[in-house]
Structures are given as C-alpha cells and as structure tokens.
Amino acid sequence: MSSDLDRRRLLGRALSFGALGLLGGCNFDHPNHPDLADRFLHLLSRWNDRVQAALFDPATLAPTFPAAAITRPPRFNAYYTIEHVRVVDGALWHLDLFGAIAEKRPWRLADFRAAPQASQITRLVCVEGWRVIGQWSGVPLGWFLRRVGADLGARYLSFRCADGYHSSIDMASALHPQTILALDFLGQPLTPPFGFPLRLRIPTKLGFKNPKSLVALGVTNRYPGGYWEDQGYNWFSGS
C-alpha cells in the first residue's frame, strides 16, 4: 500500500462507496457506525474468508521461479514512505511470544540463525495488482510453532511489527511448507525497509499479509484483525 495520507483519512469510510452512494441509505462517517452497505460488505467478506479457507489446499505449493526471474531492485511497500522506516537494533531485538504457546521465552536473532533454514524464490502479489519475485530464506513457521509448543489447533496467528503494523493469518496457512520466518533476502540479511531482522514470508497470501520487522508473535482463538484488515481489506486474502 502507498502512504497516501488521503487514503488513511478514509479510515472510517473504508467501505463507503462512490457512484452507488445513493443506495446506501444513511452514510455514517465513523467506523463504529457502519452504514447498511458497510454491514453487507463485511458479511460478504467474512463469507469470502470461509470460501477461501475451504479452497486452500495445504499441499498446493506456490509457483517457484529461476534466479533470473528475481525482480531487481526489490520494490518497497508499506503504509509509509521509505524514509520513515524504523531501524531495529539486531543486538537488542527479540521476538516476544504470547497466547497459546507453551514456551514463551523470547527468541533472539541467534536463536533463529541456529534453527533449520529453508529458501524459496517466489512471487509476492500485492493487493493493488502488481507482483515482484524475490528470494527469501529463513525458518519454516511450522517448525518454529512445533518447537515452541504452540497450540496447533488454535485458529489464528497474530503478528506485531516494530513500526506498529500488525496482521494475522489462519493456522492452516501458517503450517504451509512455504510459510517461513524470513531472515535473508538474496542470501543477505534483510535490510530495514524489507523487514530486518525477521519478517513473515507467506507466498500463499497477498503481500500485506507478509508483516515485516516482527516484534511479537501470538497464537490465539480470538480474531486479531490487522492494520489493513480493520480498514476493510479482506482478512484471508489468500492467493
């Protein structure tokens, strides 16, 4: 997503609509008072979550690509512009764990470096319609969840980022073999704009479901929502 301030100002009117405005009846400008159209669209979006979860096949892999297909330079994208990227100190950084996890001891960078690694050259598809191909490597999320004793029967994984961004995914997608906690891009540690020191890389979902610079990971049965999801973007957003 771009950092367009106008867009952020539309926060409360996420689902209000232009040309069909007359059909909507009352048009509240506050997210706590969604109008009829907002309610209808939320209902359909929840239905589409369920359809996508049913369509999701844990064994279907996202397409992989040759190294020559990698997009260079990589494309930066966040809810702010690149000069506002928050730089995390890798020596002090740790990932906090919360929710239905047996061993909640925070993980440091060295812990992740010592864990098994997997690499992938996959396509990142943005909700806007563009795509880039990149090479990410890191710790398979399924391995990590088992290692820390997460409740694999829980419904949601919740992610919090250093910049205040947050998102969440379903457990089935979290356990997909290509879902990784990425440390490296093109064989080098992630740079701050691209999620240093640790980001979620999940090629079975749209780009905004790949939160960067993670500071906390939780397992929960309570719907956690997310930065864009709360503004009206479809939660499941599977690819």
Partner: protein, 203 residues
C-alpha cells in the same frame, strides 16, 4: 394460445439482476484498475465504485457471487428451456454479413422476440466475454490454488490483461445495447412487463 410474453419472467429477472451485478463489477473493477494501471490512463474516480481500493475490492468480491450465480442460472435456464436454441441459432457468417448490410442501409426490420444474425453474434460474443471475465478473474484471484488455470491462461500478468479485455468487450456490448434501446425505445417496456408476442410472429 393467443399470446405469450416476448421475454418470459425468468429472463427478465435475470436480465435486471445481471444489470445490477455488471454495474457493480465494472464500477468497482475500474477502481481496482486505478490502484495499479495496466495502461497509460486513469479511469475517472467519479465513475468508479468503492471510493478506495478496499471498498472496491469488497464490492467486487460481493457482486461476483450475484454475477456468477445469476449467470449459471441463466445458462441452465437457457439450455433447458430451449431459449438459446430458439433465439441464438442458427448463426452463419453469411447471415451476419447480410444483416449487417441491411442494418447499415437501415433496412433491417425489428421483429419482437426474434434476433437478427448480428444480434445473435453480439449476444453470443458478450456471453463469451462474461465467461472469460469469470475464468480470468478466478485465475487472477487465486494464482496459487488455481495455478493450473493461471498457467493455462498464459501467466499471472497475462490473466490481468485478459480480464481487462473481457471487461472491455462487455462494455463495448453495453454501449451498443444501450444505443439501440435508445434508438428503438419500444423494446424497453417488454423487458420489464414481459410484453405480448402473437403466435404468427413466432419463428
């Protein structure tokens, strides 16, 4: 049998449901297009639906159910009732050329309940575009789960161009459709009331 409707009620119902679905699908699709343009033009936001990308996507993926389910009902009804066979067939290139020439020289008569060869071609064409829009839309929405469909259509970016092409075909049809209704306004009422068709004018 003295008379039967020009447009039976299931057809009228599906026609107007489809009109609603198309307006929402196209309007929200244009807003989605603007988020990442394929060509060097922006579609004026004033004629789009959804106000911003999230709203447009929500509308697009809500109305798609109406568009697809209504379209499936139409296919089943059209096949089972014989509507397709009666209205769209036979169709030959020679008949299309003949009727095009008659239309160009303003000698093509309007016969209620009966489509000329050009109309048949246009209706079949827009049905093909509608089908293409759904297939390409599915492939662009689910390039991982439906990777085989995405591959079949030429790849991820290609499906987006094809989706745009299908929309363009539908919009081109709608322009012709609406211009013709404006030119021959008496065809509008039967699409609402059903109209009455006398047996002698039935093919």
């Amino acid at each position: 049998m003295a008379a039967r409707p020009i447009h039976p009620w299931p057809l009228r119902l599906m026609h107007w449901l489809n009109a609603l679905a198309l307006v929402i699908m196209i309007g929200s699709g244009w807003q989605i297009y603007d988020a990442h343009q394929l060509f060097r033009f922006t579609i004026p936001p004033s004629i789009t639906i959804g106000e911003w990308l999230a709203g447009a996507i929500a509308w697009h993926f809500a109305a798609m159910w109406l568009f697809v389910l209504n379209g499936l009902a139409y296919l089943v009804w059209g096949t089972a009732s014989g509507h397709f066979r009666r209205r769209f067939l036979p169709l030959s290139p020679r008949a299309v050329l003949r009727d095009l020439w008659l239309a160009a020289t303003f000698r093509l008569p309007h016969r209620p309940g009966r489509y000329n060869a050009v109309q048949r071609l246009l209706y079949l064409g827009v049905l093909a575009c509608g089908t293409l829009s759904i297939v390409t839309g599915l492939a662009f929405w689910k390039p991982v789960q439906l990777w085989w469909l995405s591959d079949l259509l030429g790849g991820f970016r290609e499906t987006r161009f094809l989706h745009f092409a299908a929309m363009s075909g539908i919009v081109a049809f709608l322009v012709v459709h609406l211009v013709l209704v404006a030119a021959v306004p008496k065809v509008l009422a039967p699409m609402i009331t059903g109209g009455r068709l006398h047996e002698e004018s039935v093919p």
